[in-house]
Symmetry: C2
Subunit: 368 residues, 2 copies
Amino acid sequence: MGIVAVGHDRDWLEVRFEDGTTQRYLGTWLRDNITTGRHRDAGQRTFDINSLPEMTIAGASLHADTVTVTFAPEGLDATFDAAWFCLHRSTSGTGRGVTPRPTLWGDEQQGSLEFADHPTLVCDPARLHDWLTGIRDLGFGLLENLPATPGSILEAVDLFGYVRETNYGRIFEVRDEPEPANLAFTRLEIGMHTDNPYRDPVPGLQILHCLVNESDGGDSRLADGFAVAERIRSDHPEAFQLLTTHPVWFRYLDGGSADLQAYKPLIQLDSRGQVTCVRYNSRSAQAFDMPADVMAGYYRAYRILGDLLHDPGARIEFRLEAGQLMAFDNQRVLHGRTAYTAGARHLQGCYVDKDSLHSRIRVLEAAR
Amino acid sequence: MGIVAVGHDRDWLEVRFEDGTTQRYLGTWLRDNITTGRHRDAGQRTFDINSLPEMTIAGASLHADTVTVTFAPEGLDATFDAAWFCLHRSTSGTGRGVTPRPTLWGDEQQGSLEFADHPTLVCDPARLHDWLTGIRDLGFGLLENLPATPGSILEAVDLFGYVRETNYGRIFEVRDEPEPANLAFTRLEIGMHTDNPYRDPVPGLQILHCLVNESDGGDSRLADGFAVAERIRSDHPEAFQLLTTHPVWFRYLDGGSADLQAYKPLIQLDSRGQVTCVRYNSRSAQAFDMPADVMAGYYRAYRILGDLLHDPGARIEFRLEAGQLMAFDNQRVLHGRTAYTAGARHLQGCYVDKDSLHSRIRVLEAAR
């Protein structure tokens, strides 16, 4: 849209657009964003705010589709296109261009479960894009036709990111081994949980690849922790307040090799109040350490969270066969499995950071 | 300390200690922490809150140094040692056992700069512990006598963690190459900044290893972003409020290979108001996207932050020679360098997550 008039005072430039609307732009903001202040290749700004003098707008003039602003005391003239002003007409603080809000779900998602075909994703950018945006927006994705061989999980990781190595190695094993010390637990149902809440940062994505599944049962479950958190926010505001405010101490202790600890709330909010991480893992939660007058209310809130996360209406359930894989947002989606009877079952897992997933989606969109 | 009496109502157990003080313990909390509810090897809890009935305390009795509590409706008897009650006498929510608060610093730190000796750290756990706690508490550590050969940086990483691989690879190069497109910038002073604010999670630790330094100048600078943040909190509360509340859009765009974006505040707080991350990088900050009525105040706050981060009183300065290395907390400590004249300069860098650093410190302490 064209510009029909500009005006200014010491601090602000006012632009009137063709449609009669006006918008004010702060002089310092304009000076900070002059096009000649960015490297021509990388588009990176080449100066810092502290290297600029306190400045005022000394003049502004309109020439066709450009506005030239003169800054004092520098005496610097900078030219901005109408398109630049249009792009920044709505400075609403919505973070345009950044990750979209998640699509919340419950068991109705069960009806649309699909395993994407790995060989197809490797050679079809459009299909890959769809699969990756599913992981971004729903928090999980399913894949099949990957070789059921050790290490093949890395071929799936290559689609969008890099392994996050930890004390568990680049790849960890989830399998049923006949060790008496663990026999009571290995085939039991595993409740819904997120992995490694004792780690900071918490692993962003978890990938689980099935190599063998000859057992009866052992089906996988996933639940949307963000959906549960939003339900608590609306239905149990007092519980939400407690769960987002009081940290819990998580710990994983492995003899002489690791002592991982974190002290974080079960539901974490960002500065705008949006849920950014759900941590839920009774196995590694230590005795809650909070004032006695908070404890009873906190346990009521904790029970609400635990009940909702285990509600059948909140989850999907499916069986991973050899050569199939699930990838999920470990800061959002809880996982668990049903009990199973005799028969070998072997998964390989790894953790992956989320930034590369989002980057890859944007690169695929730009290449369209 | 011994226990002289116990009492209870439906929800609470009251314990009176030898010194005459009393402490109340919530029944649900006790039931959640029974010793038989944890796996004997891993110490991990074997049940979830949602698998417990709503319960009351049906009885409590004291026998020497143990207290037996009966829970209804389960009819379960659980025994707790006096030591357990002592350990949890003060449930103040301080996160005992987790990472201590940082030691804030400014240019007075210049007087105590020391490069630790790499071969010594490899074989002396006490010295290694001291060096690692320095990184934890001060946010940085210096090392020397590492081979000045490509890849030797990984020997330093092996002391405490795992490389975080990104689109820049496992190791990235920082060197002066005679490429015309960048010549104007490569030898100039580089202002104080944190790396990769466009990434989520932001790399926790950055390691920079010097392979060649034959230039005149090019000295390294570090500043404590947490100290600056606390100064703003106390001296400029309005600015602190703006910097911790309004997200900024960061972006790194690399042609067809990467489009990394994050939308985060420059100073990030946790749910208790403690500073957990400082992001400052004018090169990758995009035009601020916030309402016009916030913009002028935000720019005043941004200038305060930029000025304080570049204040000579806030920083240390030293020269990295070949074979020397610095490791610093990239979520806290800003780095930069002075201008330099002709002469080769080559650093290798990598990112490392912080959780392993803290784990390694605890393991070293437990082995003493």
